[in-house]
Symmetry: C3
Subunit: 354 residues, 3 copies
């Protein structure tokens, strides 16, 4: 009798063009919003208050788009990265329809790249993953690539396909879920939003130390990662991790993304929406007990076609462990990430204009 | 003035036939569902996605039936087992009306058995506990028995009444909350459910190692046990536990049941509903830091009267601490549970047929 | 370019009469209720069961009023107490309109007192903070005062203004959110509420040991404090706390208030509503690992104007760390709090009459 359990796919199980429908669609609720707040302490007004979301022209209070990211990511883990050596990168992450409580997200991935490594024991798999809601609208579309073990090193290498990766998501591909036409955001909403700094006030090259720090406990990251139904063993199984070189549980990189975004409120309070994830690197592992700080740099100030109410900022947000960010720690002279840097995220936020 | 605090009942406070209305009815919400997901990472599709539940003919997404179990169990603790030495067993647990967000559960217990131990200091109490929803429909009906301290060893022993305990819940007593008539579950829903293995594919005697492991932290089990409003002191009070032989907080046995059920997804993904708990033993205590693994054996494959869309499997699921389950650890040559075995649960799940 | 981050206000930034609109209004949901239950295990029936709330004449199940307190308090932290040396006291806290899931709370504070300390480096700021719902109804109105650092000791002292602090909230100012006219609470609801002791059964001077104890973990208090969007650094940043005399994270005093209230169920089960906070002192710091116990004394038995269905009790609830309360620990012979006492709360609850 064949095994009833699924060991995850190995490198030789993937083929370019293969489409994988991921298990367990997920209905998002107000319960998820409360937990997200409890896990990260996020204070962006549009995703905290129905009244504020209403003032921005939304019919209801949406879910933080990073929660949509985690749910879509989590679904792909059992099929794509259960046997991964490393999560190598993200590209072209576009958030589409906002996610509201009651919506159900279903995720499908397509294999778009395969390249066996020269050691013959691992290979790199590129997938494009798309989360859609119950109406068939795209909630998130992004590419990630992972290094995956081969089950059998003797298995012949597939033809190498390296996909053209998108650069930063273009202005015309950003989805703005709100409309401030006729709204005096600068005059009426900034006090409740927590800052008077709007799109117009940021400059390319400007760097912001987000000041605050947050220590992560084992329960915190495991609650989060289970909430996203992410099944990667390294986050949960202390017994198995004891046998590894690292010796302990690793924190899901997305947990650090959400913490950094939450810390960025102090300096970016009007950046109400994460609209795109252009690229991202989990530069070093994070463990329970680490205290996360973050700083950001404005990479681009983007005008949105046909919109005078809102603009976009392309940001680099860097998160560190056990090191404050007043000196903007990043890379050493050798061009490598400093050992305290855990996240280098290139993403795009929406922020009202004057 | 009599004390305002309630010390819990002692053995001599119980009488056969006595009915106890338990305090604090409990309204279940989407917040409970989100927390349940965060605590256990459960991935069964029917209780994760409203769309999937709809495809199975349910009007809304129901709550995991084990959450109903924990809520009903929790209510009985202040009256039944606050002065318990040990929770000895379960029998005849039948899940009735599915629980939906917004439903309120009220729990009542009837004492059905009493037997003083020969030491004169403790006795065994059997209770049948019934949780009903706001419409008066039974949500859960089960028997458990506990060993309870006497307040006063000199108090005369009651007449011994040992109830006839039900064996495994019979096929005709199982409640199926969904209807797959006209639904091509095998063709259309298995990809989203996470497995193509249906009722027809399991064989009596088949054993499944669920592979994954989950480490428990103090916060995790305390959050869960408080969510269920279970007041057993041993789970919460490190100060008092330091004075005991065991020296530390004990994890609520039901927390391990839910973890084992969640781990069983890998091998039993289509077992959408726990319909009955036939018997259960918490074989050894579980503590924070322990990593739980689980394996299952198919005890019976049960046809349901008048149903060709769904069948039942009677399962034994065994959970271990700090030991993987590829060799199906259970009992030693002396017939006693191995020290790593923490749960031996005999229960019945519903699983669609081809 | 001016800094985009907000360092919080210092003593010299406050002026008597100044009004501060606090950032991030907050919509309360069923998710918050579930988390509140998971964090404290509260068992008061009116805030646990929609059916019970309905029996008390409420249209829906309200949120625990202490959750409203935490949300309002949390909002004031970034503006009022980010640079505080200590939270000195509370007064005149009146709960108004009950908070229901879906309601949004917005908080505003007015500076009502300023007094520089003789050391010239700190001063005491009194603020009156008001939380209103989306209909403009007051949810909570209270005064607190904090000792805040000066940014610059050379800055001249302001004119001293010490406000007249209200004493205990008067009977006519208490808001009763339910109506038991025509309801036989004593006969029909006490079993579900968990006690037959009603307003009539308590005597002034009576003391109650609430018996149970609860150990706090780092994750527990941080989840709670983030849920309230409270940004006080001392609760979250282990790295920064290591540099302080105390060496570790401090637990938010409000977390202890909610734990003490939850423990008080055993002895005060019919005290369904906290209607006022008259005064409060966080007598000693609480840390992760501490086990909290509590006891209460009845300070006053208050008749409510025009009401025969319900009365109020003014209570002192004292919480301790790592010490049980059968001997009602409070102050030493020197009049100072015992080192194990962490909370001395003077508040008023509503409790049905016979």
């Amino acid at each position: 009798m064949p095994s009833k359990t699924f060991p995850g796919n190995y490198f030789e199980d993937f083929a370019v063009g293969q489409e994988i429908v991921h298990a367990t669609p997920r209905t998002v609720t107000e319960g998820d919003i409360a937990l997200y707040t409890a896990l990260y302490g996020s204070r962006f007004a549009m995703t905290s208050a129905a009244t504020f979301a209403g003032s921005m022209g939304l019919e209801r209070m949406p879910v933080d788009s990073l929660l949509a990211f985690h749910l879509v990511f989590g679904k792909t883990v059992p099929d794509i990265s259960l046997n991964a050596v490393a999560n190598l990168g993200y590209a072209g992450g576009v958030f589409g329809a906002p996610l509201y409580p009651g919506d159900t997200v279903t995720t499908t991935s397509t294999v778009i790249g395969l390249k066996e490594n020269s050691n013959g024991r691992t290979g790199v798999v590129h997938v494009r993953s798309v989360g859609v809601n119950q109406k068939g609208e795209t909630v998130l579309d992004y590419v990630r690539w992972v290094m995956v073990h081969k089950r059998d090193a003797a298995f012949p290498a597939p033809e190498t396909v390296v996909p053209d990766l998108p650069g930063a998501v273009a202005a015309e591909d950003l989805h703005v879920p709100f409309d401030l036409t006729g709204v005096d955001y600068a005059g009426e909403l900034t006090a409740l939003a927590g800052s008077t700094d709007l799109w117009d006030d940021y400059e390319v090259g400007e760097r912001i130390d987000h000041v605050d720090g947050m220590t992560i406990e084992e329960s915190d990251h495991m609650l989060a990662t289970r909430l996203y139904q992410n099944t990667a063993k390294v986050h949960f199984n202390a017994l198995a991790q004891r046998e590894t070189k690292i010796g302990r549980r690793l924190i899901y990189g997305g947990h650090v993304i959400s913490l950094a975004r939450s810390l960025s409120f102090n300096g970016l309070a009007n950046a109400q929406v994460v609209a795109a994830i252009n690229a991202g690197v989990h530069a070093n592992p994070t463990f329970a007990g680490d205290t996360i700080h973050a700083w950001s740099e404005v990479l681009e100030r983007i005008e949105l076609p046909g919109r005078t109410d809102v603009g976009a900022l392309r940001l680099r947000t860097v998160a560190t462990k056990d090191r404050t960010c007043e000196d903007f720690p990043y890379k050493g002279e050798d061009g490598k990430y400093l050992p305290e840097v855990v996240l280098d995220l290139d993403y795009t936020v929406l922020i009202p204009r004057r």
